[in-house]
Each structure stands twice: as C-alpha cells, then as structure tokens.
C-alpha cells in the first residue's frame, strides 16, 4: 500500500511539475515580442550563452571529426571503399553527432549556468526585488536567456559540424592518404541539403536548443531558493536535458529519415 501511495504521489508530483513547466513556457513565449524592443538584453545573453560555449564546441567538434575520420577509414578500408570516407564523416556529423553532441555540451556548459544564474537570483531575492521595482523578471531575466539559448544552439551545432568535417578531412586526407577529390565529390554527391543539412543540423538543433533552454530557465525559476535547492536544480537541468536530447533525437530521426 505504502509503495502504491508513493508511486501515486510521485506521479502526481511529476504531472504537476510538467503542468507548471508548460504554463511557464507559455508565459515565456508571450513575452518574446517584448524582447524585440530590448535587443541589448539579448546581446548580453548571446554572449554568455553562445560566445562562451564556442571554445568547448570548437575543440570537441574537431576531435569528434578526427575520430570519425580514423574509425571510418579503418572500417571502409577493409572493403576498399575509403573514398566514401567523406560521406561517412559528413552524414554522421550532419544527421546525428553534430546536433546531439553539441546539444549535450550546450546543456552541460550553458544550460547549467542558466539554471544556476536564475536560481541564484531567486535565492538572493533579486527576482523579488525586480518585481517590487515594477520590473517583470520573466521579461527581464528569463526571456532573453531563453531566446539566446534557442538562437545560439543551431549556430553552435553548425560550427561544431563544420569543424568536425574539417577535422575528418584533415585526418583522412592528411594522415591516412584518402584522395582529396574523392572525399569531397563523394560527399557532395550523397549529402542532401534539405535531408541532411536542414533537417539534421538546423531542425534538430533548434528543437534541442529550445528544449534545453526551456528546462534550464524553468529549473532555475522553479528552484528551491537555497544553495542546496539551486545546486539540485542545476543537476536536474543537466540530467533532464541530456535525457530529453537523446529521446527527442530518436523521435526526430524516426520522423525525418524514414
């Protein structure tokens, strides 16, 4: 009985939180037009969300691309098909690894920072203080961060993917001696703009960016206003966004590529 009660309570709590999260998203969305009047707020957040994630994205992208080059070559060379290395590297980066890994990194780097920032502002009553100064903290604090996250993610994923392909290119043609012309021409013959670039990098990373930013700002805004509460919320942001990214990736892949 106690077990059933616990399960019941937990699931009710979960649904309640889900409901609050959706209402929260709604109130974020209706405030987005107001942000257009304050581009400087967005700029400030694009800096801390996007620019400050750039280094980790670029470095990871080049390593992932180089590993793909190595592994792909080793597999392809057994069939004498190393000329297809470009296709392997480009397709796997564009469709999966680019958007997914950059989103995971984004959740760890920027998502957790968003939650911690907003949670800290809540814990130190900065959000209440804004309310009392007749400043809407949703519009002033939450919305710019959310929009910056949504906009930065596709850019970061594109940079990650482009650098990854370059990494695979240098690894394949420079180190392993794959023919340069074949690398690019095979890639160009097989990679589709809408199917791979648009659906893969753009759509997926937009969805991931929106979901990670949503989770991050909601967890921050909803955090228990103590240091434990904020640190728990930060952990939840990383865990939940990572799960959401992987699960959504499966769903999106299913929808797009079948």
């Amino acid at each position: 009985m106690a077990l059933l009660a616990t399960i019941g309570r937990r699931s009710l709590g979960l649904f309640e939180r889900l409901g609050r999260g959706h209402l929260f998203l709604l109130s974020v969305l209706i405030r987005i037009p107001g942000l257009l009047l304050r581009p400087r707020l967005l700029l400030q957040q694009m800096w801390s969300v996007g620019v400050e994630s750039l280094l980790i994205i670029a470095v990871s992208g080049s390593f992932v691309g180089m590993v793909l080059g190595l592994q792909g070559y080793n597999t392809l060379v057994t069939f004498g098909a190393q000329a297809s290395l470009g296709v392997v590297v480009a397709k796997s980066l564009l469709r999966e690894l680019g958007p997914v890994i950059s989103a995971l990194l984004f959740a760890g780097r920027a998502g957790s920072a968003l939650t911690a920032e907003i949670g800290f502002m809540k814990a130190t009553e900065q959000l209440s203080a804004m309310e009392m100064m007749a400043v809407d903290p949703m519009a002033r604090v939450v919305v710019p961060r959310f929009v910056a996250g949504v906009l930065s993610m596709p850019l970061l994923a594109a940079i990650f993917t482009a650098i990854g392909i370059m990494g695979g290119y240098f690894c394949g043609t420079g180190l392993l001696g794959v023919d340069e012309g074949a690398f690019w021409s095979q890639m160009q013959a097989k990679v589709m703009l809408v199917q791979d670039v648009f659906n893969g990098v753009l759509v997926k990373s937009l969805v991931f960016g929106a979901v990670v930013s949503w989770i991050a700002v909601f967890e921050g805004y909803d955090a228990v206003p103590t240091s434990e509460g904020v640190s728990a919320a930060t952990t939840r942001t990383v865990v939940h966004s990572s799960l959401a990214i992987l699960a959504l990736d499966f769903v999106l892949t299913g929808l797009m590529f079948n």
């Binding site: 800096w47 750039l54 098909a81 930065s152 850019l155 482009a162 690019w184 160009q188 703009l193």
Partner: protein, 159 residues
C-alpha cells in the same frame, strides 16, 4: 559588466561564424544543386528484384544522371517491386520502349537504374510505364548459377 563594445563584437563574430558554417555545409558539403529539385515527370517500372536500390538513387542514361528514384513499393498483384522514377523535365524525349536495368557501380558500390533508349517515335510522359526491365544482379544467384554450370559442364550447352 563587460565592455559593451567587446560583447557586441564577439557576438557579431559568433553569429557570423555560425552562419558561415551553415553556408559551408550547404555549399561545400551538400553541393547546393540538390536543393532545388528540377521540374520533372514520373514514370513507373516493375522489377522482380531491385537489390539494393533506394529512394533517391540516381537514374542514369549514358552515364549522365537524368533523374532520381522517388518511391519504391511492392505491387501485391504482380508480385513485383514497383519503382517510381522522377525524370528531369529537360529530358523529355526518351522513347517509350526504353529499357531499365539495375546496375551496380563497381563491385560493391551503390546501385542505380540505367536507361537504354529504344527506337520508338513516342516519348515517355508523366505516368508512363517502362515495360522492358532487367532486375538487379544478386550475387548469391550468380554464384549458384556458376556452380551449377560447372557441375553440368560435360553436357553440351544449348545455345
């Protein structure tokens, strides 16, 4: 607060870098040409076996890509694979008795449909059917036939 000028510049660089990457992915990696599917018309062809043929596999004529496969299905009345081919509009003078064969580029490469033009005066149009088809070469079948021929060697082969 950091120097606003610095923030403006670095966000500018970030956005430019992101857009440049997207552009590079579109131009250099996806070779933009595939983006705008040229106007075309669709014809059908039935095969006993399509092997590794896939949607978007190329359709070639004399080695030139004249269209792509737009759909693959199975006709349960004819017990054959039904392949819909989208041919580009500018190749609109293809005779109706053109043969469609499934070829493989290289030993293990991708498969494509090769068209060999016939001599009819009427041309293929939207909804036409390619009646002369030859299925994909299945490696196992080939080996089987080869072995069968070997064992049956003493007998004189019929022409």
């Amino acid at each position: 607060m950091k120097d606003p000028r610095l923030i403006e510049i670095s966000v500018g660089i970030f956005v430019a870098l992101g857009l440049a990457s997207l552009l590079m992915l579109a131009m250099k990696v996806a070779n933009l040409a595939d983006f705008s599917a040229p106007p075309g018309y669709e014809v059908r062809a039935y095969f006993d076996n399509i092997g590794g043929l896939q949607v978007r596999s190329p359709v070639k004529m004399g080695g030139v890509v004249v269209g792509r496969i737009s759909d693959i299905g199975f006709d349960s009345k004819r017990f054959q694979a039904c392949v819909t081919v989208r041919l580009e509009q500018r190749y609109d003078h293809i005779p109706t008795d053109t043969a469609a064969n499934i070829y493989t580029s290289g030993l293990l490469g991708e498969q494509y449909i090769g068209l060999e033009p016939g001599g009819e005066e009427s041309y293929l149009k939207n909804g036409s059917e390619l009646t002369i088809t030859q299925s994909a070469v299945v490696l196992e079948k080939m080996i089987q036939e080869f072995l069968y021929n070997k064992t049956a060697k003493p007998e004189p082969q019929s022409p």
